[in-house]
């Protein structure tokens, strides 16, 4: 579908709604909503209005505050400040059940159906207060009526387990309709669907909007947003940056709004002289996860991996580290082709991977700082009876405590006692102690405070200067831009571009990450 056709269709729809007069009273109004989690201001003074029958798209980077807003609408979180009005009346949404009662429903990327219940049971799962005995015949009839209204052909007696993802999404929508939904939130509903299934879903969404349901549509796929939305709202760093009608919004001005962030105090890392070729990856792929990834990494180089969460960047790291080995492509390390099937093999080749998830995948929380640091290299600390030389272990830990300024009373304390930033430094110590030649850092500054973040950045610079080749996976755009010598951008498992330092900026990277052609081709200047 071309852009002009879409624009025309959307325009026609809004005109019709305006004639009906339904659009005059907002169905849901969020006024001056603020929400804080510890050190993070997740939402700041956000006001969003939804009208009946409107398809309202929400755009923003990971962490921009979209999810927090959705969670406030569905009663998962309570706002610190601000008010919510439903059809003009102030309401408090204390939990998910209350949100459903008020006519707000949400569907997500992965449908949350009960796989062993049939379609009709899933549709009416929230109607358990109708009596003690299930009236099967009545339930099947009602379920069929709802599905017919949606124009979906499904056997209401079959279990949800066998349905395609698209069919499961339809059941989720039918479930929402059975609750007499007024506001339907769709959080990346198309991420796992094929193009044909997306078209079916969009037909459903348009029908719903014609019936007066307000739809809040969150997606990272620009072309879909501009295909279906009547209005486009952009979030950045917990703030609402812009709300534009479809006729005024373009992919370019939306991306500009998404990334128009102050680069702040981050100074670009001075470029380092590039060393010899260290790692050469060609056509790397893993069935159904990512494909055809090719890049070179030199000694002393920081190669950034940019893109949105779920774009497949971590999966490349896991493949290189042997946790989830690649199924296609070649890896050449120091001129020799290698196969990596396990973390042990990868470590043996001098590759280290610092996981993005400290708590689940990185550290053993109840164990001491020193035990965590020596874990991958424990063999070095054994005496000839196979017992651990604790003094030597402690000496290593003390050395790293000094070098990375890990703030702790003692290296014998459990890592659970440390702040996030100091835990991150323990993770770094653990992997630096393996003396890697290739260091893969996955979101190394996520969830840590500004001071610790700056320290980690300095550390990355020092390590590169020592000749380590660093792959920096980060969803923090300013971070990855300032730290990287070159920047590889992924989108939905595919490599979109490799930017040299001088070509990489927030807009060019985000444009590639959102799957748009280069900004200059778009027409509207940023």
């Amino acid at each position: 579908m071309t852009e002009s056709e879409t624009a025309h269709a959307a325009g026609a729809a809004s005109v019709r709604r305006a004639e009906d007069g339904r659009a005059s009273v907002p169905v849901l109004e969020m006024r001056n909503i603020a929400k804080r989690f510890d050190a993070t201001q997740a939402l700041e003074d956000v006001s969003l209005t939804l009208y009946p029958g409107e398809i309202h798209a929400l755009l923003g980077e990971n962490g921009a505050g979209k999810s927090t807003l959705i969670k406030i609408m569905t009663g998962v979180h309570q706002p610190d400040r601000g008010e919510i009005l439903l059809a003009g009346k102030p309401v408090t949404i204390r939990n998910a059940a209350e949100s459903q009662r008020l006519g707000i429903a949400a569907i997500y990327q992965e449908p949350l159906l009960f796989p062993d219940l049939n379609v009709a049971e899933n549709i009416f799962i929230s109607h358990q207060d109708r009596g003690q005995v299930v009236g099967w015949r009545e339930m099947f009839r009602d379920a069929e009526a709802i599905l017919a209204k949606l124009g979906v052909a499904l056997d209401v007696r079959s279990t949800a387990r066998g349905l395609t993802l698209a069919a499961q999404q339809s059941v989720e929508i039918a479930k929402a309709i059975s609750l007499n939904v007024k506001v339907l939130i769709m959080d990346e509903p198309t991420a796992s669907l094929s193009a044909h299934e997306v078209a079916q879903l969009f037909k459903l969404v348009r029908d719903l909007s014609d019936q007066g349901v307000a739809i809040l549509f969150v997606s990272h796929r620009m072309e879909e947003v501009f295909d279906i939305a009547d209005k486009v709202t952009v979030f950045r760093d917990g703030q609402l940056i812009s709300t534009r009608p479809r006729s005024e919004a373009t992919p370019q001005n939306s991306i500009t709004d998404m990334v128009g962030r102050e680069m702040g105090l981050l100074q670009p890392r001075p470029p380092t002289p590039q060393g010899d070729l260290l790692l050469s990856v060609r056509g790397l792929g893993k069935e159904g996860v990512f494909e055809d990834v090719s890049f070179d990494l030199h000694r002393g180089e920081v190669l950034g991996f940019g893109g949105l969460i779920g774009a497949g960047r971590t999966d490349i790291g896991l493949a290189l580290f042997g946790i989830e080995p690649a199924t296609a492509g070649t890896i050449v390390l120091n001129g020799t082709e290698v196969t990596i099937r396990s973390p042990g093999e990868s470590m043996g080749l001098g590759i280290a991977y610092v996981s993005e998830d400290r708590r689940q995948l990185g550290l053993s929380m109840p164990m001491s700082i020193s035990a965590n640091i020596t874990l991958p290299t424990l063999r070095r600390y054994l005496n000839r009876f196979g017992l651990i030389r604790t003094a030597m272990e402690r000496a290593t830990a003390e050395a790293f405590r000094e070098r990375l300024s890990i703030r702790t009373a003692s290296v014998d304390l459990p890592v659970a006692k440390l702040s996030g930033g100091n835990q991150q430094k323990v993770m770094l110590s653990k992997w630096l102690n393996t003396k890697p030649s290739v260091l893969i850092l996955d979101e190394p500054t996520r969830g840590i405070d500004v001071g610790a973040k700056a320290e980690v950045h300095t550390m990355i610079g020092e390590l590169a200067a020592e000749g380590i080749g660093i792959i920096l996976i980060s969803s923090d755009l300013p971070e990855v831009l300032t730290m990287s010598d070159r920047l590889l951008v992924m989108r939905e498992g595919r490599q979109m571009a490799i930017f040299d330092r001088e070509d990489a900026n927030q807009e060019s990277v985000m444009t590639a990450a959102m799957g748009q052609e280069a900004a200059s081709e778009g027409g509207v200047a940023a």
Partner: protein, 321 residues
Amino acid sequence: MSALGRLKSWEGLLLALLVIIVAVNIEHSPYYLGVGNIVNLFQLSIEKIIVALIMTLVIINGEIDLSVASVMGLAACVLAWLFEMGTPMPLAIVGGLLAGLAAGLFNGFWVAYVGLPSLAVTLAGLIGYRGIARILVEDHPIGNFPEWFNLVGQQPLIGPVTVSIVIFALLFVIIAITLHSSALGRLVYVIGNNLQAARYSGIRVRLVKMTLFGASGTIAALAGILYAARLGSVRGDMAAGFELDIITIVLLGGVSIFGGSGNLAGVGLSILVILNLRNGMGLASITGNTQTSVIGALLILSVLVPNMAQTISNKWNGRET
């Protein structure tokens, strides 16, 4: 509070309990402090407490081995069966130990390489190995073992201390060193409290699990053979039901059923508490069933108290760790 602080307080509690039990026993029975009674106290449960040592490692590692009592029976029956076929006794003993090793590795294979839960795998082992034992030694007891074999089970070796007790003491030291000072022990803890972090650190998790299950099978077999030597005869149902007593000892010792925490000192204290409690109640002519109920109540407390302490301290600190 940290897991460490909680454990220390748990051991303190066990120690206090032990002092009270010993004091009451001394008060009530003139025979309690006799050397004969003390040796007897250990000797009567020696096989269970030997297996409890290796079970400690298995549970800290985040797994469980329900098949140990059946492996004890299996090893004894393999030994008796080989002996009855004319195999020399030393070879029959080796045969019994190998059967235990094989049974343990079989459990380990399904857990470590196939990824099945150890609860289910070793429950199947509990039934299956017992079945093989009963097939080997049908319903009639096999006895008439060589004199020296029976003496291993009954004869005092050093003063009044029997061979079994010496083996227990040696194993206690070896396993304590393994758990608290060796690389294997470190890995047992790490895998028990965060298996994924262990995997992401390049640790060969499967190898560690295989080693533990193999050791569990072998030590259970050793205990089964010692049991056969003490009784002087072997039956298909010998040691049946021991697994629950063994797991009780370990959990009462402060080892978390979810893995990752606990230590051998706690299990040592737990052994002393349970043995002295049973012995004291025996001397006071309290029946076996009542004894079992008291131990059961203790076990519930052992799970309840640390959890409650955790909940309270969380509320106190107003944060989660």
